[in-house]
Amino acid sequence: MRWKAAEVPLNRDASERFLPWLMAFLIYLGALALAAAMAVHNAVGHWDSGLAGKLTVQVMPGAADENPAITAERVARVLEELRATQGVVQAHALDEEEIVDLLEPWLGGATESWNLPLPQVVAVELDRDRPPDLTALSARLGEVEPGTAIDDHQRWLGELLDLIRGLQILAIGVIALVALASIGAIVFITRTGMAIHRPVIDLLHLIGAQDSFVAWQFQLHALKQGLRGGVVALALTVLTLLSLGYLLQRADIAFLPAVSLSAWEWCVLALLPLLAASVAMITARITVLATLARMP
């Protein structure tokens, strides 16, 4: 005996067949937006922790024909003042090779063609709990070696944080729009399904089906379609993120952070299809119950 066909044959509807693809597309967009928000958040955290408690002191280049010994002496005076300052944990002058490494991404690898007077750079690590007064430090360094500049990266980091926050709000907006579009699509498709299968629904009612029995048919279908779409979307998202990570790695652009997600962030992405399918299921149920409540 053949058994257990669904009471409402939703899987035969033309409109129902494209639901998984629509869901896949929407979940994919949502997943990319979420991944972008998480990756950007990570990058900010990385930059912030990398720069917190650190500053850079630039000792301006002297005349083009300045004796290197004099230059070294000027740097030594700055180092001495820095090391004598309370709240400075460590200070060391970058050698020429390190400075070239820093500038290479912006100026290119052909260093002989730069022909630029390069400043001497001192990397300083501060006591995070008791940092020195930077204004006073700057003034003292100016007295020791005129033209010496301090950069604590806060201005650059602040502007970057504003940008990142803007991007995060944008990503959240995209996710919200995607969620709304998904809910709208499911409501529309569910109502269409109910109109198509009205005779079946009427019959089920006449032989004693509760509204919840009818709603179950639609919500189960929406759950399955959401899961199918979600799995496709997840596969596409993983593929996209891995490809993007590979391309960024190959491009070797120093100022762009690596697209990296932590294990739990990958788990959040993996849960997205389940979440989307659950939302689809709940939306379908609410739609059916609300529509049936208006029927005689």
Binding site: M1, R2, A5, E7, L204, L206, G208, Q210, D211, P296
Partner: protein
């Protein structure tokens, strides 16, 4: 079981199909409803299985006024009612067995019991070899028997049938009527809408005749054989004025 009090039936702004309908069908009774086409037989049945509400008046089913019953309560009430629709209303995507099983599945009965009942009932209506057939592959008579099997599988307290023997030959018609009588003997209240005077004559039960928007009761003459169900003249008023 069923009480109509001054019930008026009309559709939208259209004319009244029936008006001032008042009667009472006692539990365990067996009645025919007859009348010319358009007299309101099906409309009367639709009120009984809660597919429509009256335009005016009051209907009591199983002792409850139907207008006070909410959707959940109506669904529970419908589970006590078996309906054989004139157009069968079989679900085309489901097999004969699945169609018959539908009321049991809706009622949440265990699957093994459902299979057993369905197989027995399909065998009884002579369709044991058609369990897995889709309705479109069956004849009108076979579809009608599936519709009847679906209506009786829950052993309802009230069985309503709209022209249940219209598409079957005499032998099957008689067999189905005996099924209805058996159910009636076990306590099911049976109401059959039919055009067939021959059918009504064969079974000696009260007839509700619809004419000119009004309803009249014809009580049967007791048969010598004693097999007919006794008339229940007190259940239905002699005449309900339009």
């Amino acid at each position: 079981m069923i009480r109509f009090e001054d019930v008026v039936i009309s559709y939208g702004e259209g004319p009244e199909v029936l008006s001032g309908v008042t009667f009472h069908l006692a539990p365990g009774s067996f009645h025919f409803i007859t009348g010319p086409s358009g007299a309101g037989k099906s409309s009367l049945l639709r009120l009984m299985y809660l597919a429509n509400m009256p335009s005016a008046g009051q209907i009591y089913l199983f002792g409850q006024p139907v207008e006070n019953i909410n959707r959940k309560g109506r669904a529970e009430l419908r589970r006590k009612i078996g309906v054989v629709f004139q157009d069968f209303r079989l679900l085309p995507h489901m097999t004969a067995a699945e169609n018959v099983a539908l009321p049991l599945r809706i009622a949440g009965r265990p699957e093994d019991k459902i299979k057993q009942h369905v197989a027995e009932l399909l065998a009884w209506v002579g369709l044991a070899d058609h369990c897995d057939d889709l309705p479109e592959t069956l004849s009108g008579g076979q579809q009608q028997r599936i519709a009847i099997a679906r209506a009786v599988i829950t052993r309802p307290s009230l069985l309503l049938a709209d022209e249940p023997t219209g598409n079957v030959d005499d032998r099957i018609a008689l067999r189905l009527l005996y099924l209805f009588e058996e159910l009636n003997k076990m306590g099911t209240t049976v109401v059959i809408a039919t055009h067939s005077e021959q059918l009504m004559a064969r079974l000696n039960h009260p007839v509700i005749r619809l004419t000119d928007k009004a309803l009249y009761l014809e009580t049967p003459q007791p048969k010598a054989s004693g097999t007919a169900i006794e008339a229940e003249a007190e259940d239905v008023p002699e005449e309900s004025a339009a």
